[in-house]
């Protein structure tokens, strides 16, 4: 007895062919729906880059060229994307350029000189910054999204979100200012053993782990353990960390 008669196999072949066509059409329509825009702007060594996004991922990397490359991937709803070159660098304001539209999602990949300052802001989404060595690194997510700052050596660093984790891997310069703030994510800092800073770390839920940087002679607990203040090393950098409902963790690199 034959399991599949030849008459029965025909409809199956037709169905699978139709299904394959459907998959191809769906994939191609999705690809067509995404719009990719790439632009390059000349820049000096010490450039300032500002980006204010609505929703989406922002990735900033460094390279050896004296120019800024901006690659924006946006959905099919046409968003206005109008970078402005200024004396100090480049400004992209998606919020201002698309006033009254809050449904725009744009993903950015930025490449710029390592000595650049970056000021990044989005209402929601991820922010990733790697190897920036300029004066300022600011990453602000108004609501939800993770922040990753890796290989950072800037004298001023500000990272803030409400939901989502903040991860910092870098060094603190002497006399620098560093602020990290989250609503309920985990704030993790990975630092070299030689790092020196004055710390004010506050977590409402009393979950602060200084790991190898804890020194009971130079630090004190306040507010029943909700705040730790004190010096690590030379104590010359100022580090302020606030977390309303999440953890604060220190690691040695």
């Amino acid at each position: 007895m034959k399991l599949f008669a030849s008459d029965n196999r025909k409809p199956i072949k037709i169905l699978s062919a139709l299904f394959s066509i459907l998959i191809v059409l769906t994939a191609s329509s999705f690809a067509l729906a995404q719009q990719k825009v790439s632009r390059r702007f000349p820049a000096g060594k010490n450039v300032r880059f500002e980006l204010k996004n609505i929703t989406g991922t922002i990735t900033v990397e460094t390279w050896d060229r004296d120019e800024i490359a901006v690659t924006a991937l946006m959905d099919n709803r046409k968003a206005t994307f109008n970078p402005r070159q200024t004396e100090s660098g480049l400004v992209i304001d998606i919020v201002g350029d698309n006033r009254g539209r809050n449904d725009i999602e744009m993903n950015f990949k930025i490449q710029l000189p390592s000595r650049s300052s970056v000021d990044l802001e989005t209402h929601s989404g991820q922010i990733n910054v790697r190897n920036v060595q300029g004066d300022l690194v600011r990453a602000h997510i108004w609501t939800s999204g993770d922040i990753q700052l890796i290989g950072i050596n800037a004298s001023r660093v500000f990272a803030q979100n409400l939901s989502g984790d903040i991860y910092f891997d870098g060094d603190f310069s002497s006399g620098g200012t560093y602020e990290f703030k989250s609503g309920r994510g985990t704030i993790s800092l990975q630092l070299p053993a030689s790092c020196g800073f004055h710390l004010v770390a506050t977590s409402s839920v009393k979950r602060i782990s200084l790991g190898p940087f804890w020194d009971e002679k130079r630090m004190q607990l306040l507010g029943e353990g909700r705040r730790i203040t004190g010096d690590v090393g030379d104590g010359r950098a100022s580090v302020t960390i606030t977390n309303y409902q999440g953890d604060i963790k220190f690691f040695r690199r």
């Binding site: 929703t55 919020v95 006033r99 009254g100 809050n102 449904d103 209402h123 929601s124 108004w142 609501t143 939800s144 409400l162 939901s163 703030k181 609503g183 309920r184 506050t202 409402s204 306040l222 507010g223 909700r226 705040r227 606030t242 309303y244 409902q245």
Partner: protein, 229 residues
């Protein structure tokens, strides 16, 4: 010398007991003052009537006692007149302090009862005002210290303003954006509530106060940012 002084001399004048000088001076005045002259005539009529009626009425049985009563009445009227003057010219407190209070025992007892009742009610209202129901409460149970309560009220006004603006625009937001906003706002609200609870337990907790201030600032900043969308 004025009319009042001349009229005081009239009685002696009628009795013929004045000196010649006083008599001359009074007569000169009476010739020039119709009021005093009328008073002299009235007195003459009274004296003449008394002289004519002398011996008609029986003498009072105890004239001394009667004069004592008359004197007392006059003094009482004089005292009443003095109070009347105070009543017109002095302030309310002075008038009250110079007034004689005459109350019966039931009145006094009633007054004391009213005072006790008023004081008890005032104390109860005061305690409620400052401890339990005067200001915002965390979870409807924990009282807030007054200085925090003031700040809370001020911040609430600012927050209410920006919140109204956000609410106007919310209808235009996508459901995803609305959900994201609400979820993150609840994080800040939870931080505010936690800090308030801590401050209700320990009003001098600087850590909670710092967190509260930061949470308020974050909330206003978030509302401002989203009010334009």
């Amino acid at each position: 010398m004025n009319c009042e002084n001349y009229q005081l001399m009239l009685s002696d004048f009628v009795d013929g007991a004045l000196t010649i000088e006083d008599c001359t001076r009074l007569e000169l005045h009476l010739n020039s003052c119709p009021d005093c002259n009328d008073a002299r005539n009235d007195l003459n009529v009274i004296v003449d009537f008394c002289r004519e009626q002398r011996g008609v009425y029986d003498p009072v049985p105890d004239s001394h006692a009667m004069w004592v009563r008359i004197t007392n009445l006059i003094e009482a009227e004089h005292a009443s007149a003095s109070h009347h003057e105070i009543h017109r010219e002095a302030g309310w407190f002075f008038r009250m302090m110079n007034r004689s209070w005459q109350v019966s025992f039931p009145q006094l007892a009633g007054l004391v009862a009213v005072i006790i009742l008023v004081v008890a009610m005032g104390t109860a209202v005061g305690v409620r005002r400052f401890s339990f129901s005067g200001g915002p409460q965390v979870g409807g149970l924990v009282p807030i210290p007054p200085h925090i309560e003031d700040r809370y009220r001020q911040q609430q006004q600012t927050i209410a303003y920006w919140n109204d603006r956000v609410e106007l625009n919310k209808a235009r937001w996508s459901p995803q954006m609305r959900e994201t906003f609400e979820r993150n706002m609840s994080v800040i609200d939870a931080a505010v509530d936690d800090s308030m609870k801590q401050l209700a337990i320990n009003p001098h907790d600087t850590v909670s106060e710092d967190i509260l201030n930061e949470a308020f600032n974050d909330k206003v900043a978030l509302l401002k940012e989203f009010s334009d969308l």
